[in-house]
């Protein structure tokens, strides 16, 4: 199996009476870095959680290559998730486990590997990210940047074909952000996975992405290469690129 293309058709999702996604269509290229950008609270994370099956759509289709996964059986989702990894915004490391066990956990649970074998591989991953010293630490003892790198090590240990990043650089200082951005590029170079990054960091998107899509009030208003975005005359896109407070993007769209 190889990294799949992901296609979203007419995705709708409301929370109570509040519509968040309103008939969203999206194409994500296989084995490429896809950025989804947009305002905070604009539905980016909600969209990503639909792609991972953590939220069920009210309506619409989610295709991984030629498999439609919206409303699929739990067993089908489990099979797909064996090929998938998700980097959560704050890492979502397990507080009750040491750093080493956190990284080894997917191997242990998915392949029923024993802790020792899983641990060897986990140690390699941590060493690559310059975190070998944190092996016995608890997640709570780490800094935000270290937590992010441990979470990345955990996401990469299964060599996933699909990789989701939820706001990878939010809350990090510029130096760390750059480091994490670099890791995203490295990840793709090694795994050839379909990478989907949700972010409001427009500069990183234009620098790293093969494909960019911009979400605004529950729909994709523009998708294409970074070049398409630089040249776009769309007012909302221009405003977002310029970081301007004047324009169609409001606080409460």
């Amino acid at each position: 199996m190889s990294a799949p293309a992901i296609t979203v058709r007419n995705l709708n999702k409301s929370f109570g009476s509040l519509p968040v996604l309103k008939g969203l269509d999206l194409n994500l290229a296989p084995s490429r870095i896809n950025f989804i950008i947009g305002q905070s609270g604009g539905g980016k994370s909600v969209l990503l959680k639909h792609l991972a099956g953590l939220l069920a759509p009210d309506q619409g289709e989610i295709w991984f290559d030629d498999r439609q996964m919206a409303g699929a059986a739990p067993a089908d989702w489990r099979a797909l998730r064996m090929r998938m990894a998700f980097l959560f915004q704050d890492g979502a490391l397990f507080d009750s486990l040491s750093v080493g066990r956190n990284v080894a956990f997917p191997l242990w649970v998915q392949q029923r590997a024993d802790w020792r074998a899983a641990g060897r591989k986990a140690r390699e991953r941590l060493e690559e990210l310059d975190l070998a010293g944190a092996w016995d630490a608890r997640p709570g003892e780490l800094s935000a940047g270290e937590r992010k790198r441990v979470a990345l090590a955990r996401a990469l240990i299964m060599e996933p074909e699909i990789l989701f990043f939820d706001e990878p650089t939010t809350g990090l200082d510029p130096l760390l952000s750059e480091q994490v951005d670099g890791l995203i590029g490295l990840t793709l170079a090694r795994t050839r996975a379909t990478v989907v990054v949700v972010s409001h960091d427009i500069a990183a998107a234009l620098a790293l992405a093969d494909q960019v899509a911009m979400i605004h009030s529950g729909r994709i208003i523009l998708e294409g290469s970074p070049e398409t975005f630089r040249r776009s005359g769309e007012p909302a896109v221009r405003q977002f690129l310029a970081g301007d407070s004047e324009g169609p993007l409001g606080f409460l769209d």
Partner: protein, 262 residues
Amino acid sequence: MAAQSSIILTPVARLGALTLGALYHLGNYSLLLFRALASAFGPPWRLRGILRQMEAVGVESIFVVILTGLFTGGVFTLQVIYGFRLFAAESLVGPTVALAMCRELGPVLTALMVTGRVGSAMAAELGAMRVTEQIDALTVMAADPIKFLISPRIIAGLTMLPFLAAVADFTGILGGYAVAVAKGVDPGQFVGRIRDHVVLADVVNGLTKSGVFGLILTSVGCYMGYYSQGGAEGVGRAATGAVVISYVAILASDFLMTAVMF
């Protein structure tokens, strides 16, 4: 007209919404309980996780349960001696205390203490895991969070509460014995009459009830935490809600089981 109809209809609508909400949670809770019990029996076995929860629920509660038993047995004996002296029935203080502890006070007070200590902590812990996306992380790793987080806790409650209740029964009678002897009741009579009047079924039925209480307090704690919403505030709500709902459920089920069993 509109105002009038809303005066009549609003309470009706509220009652309807309340009923629907209660039914929704009851159904959702039953599903979670069923899935937790069903998934516990199958590979990958989570023996270590179960043992760790048994330690948290059982071993770490022993001290507080001993204190609960001692003081409850003691104060109950004080009251019983006062009452029984009125008609010179002091020889029956022993079996009265023993029956009350084994059939009722041991199981119920143990369950209430453990709810405060463990049930609320489970709700808070799972609630925090929900807020920090650790439950989502488990799901995305193709690991069933119910099997990993909830099954071991419920099994620990189901198995450990009878042991704790037995400890409370014993220390309760011990506390009662000490008080009775200090108040001038004949020690031989206290023990001898217990052997005459208390049968095994009194103890076993009490311990059976406590197993059910263990199931209730862990599963309610897990349910409240697992489905908690709204950040840190939601975690707090889940923890207090777990205690209140568990207390009511324990006392109500105690009444039902006692009516059927004894």
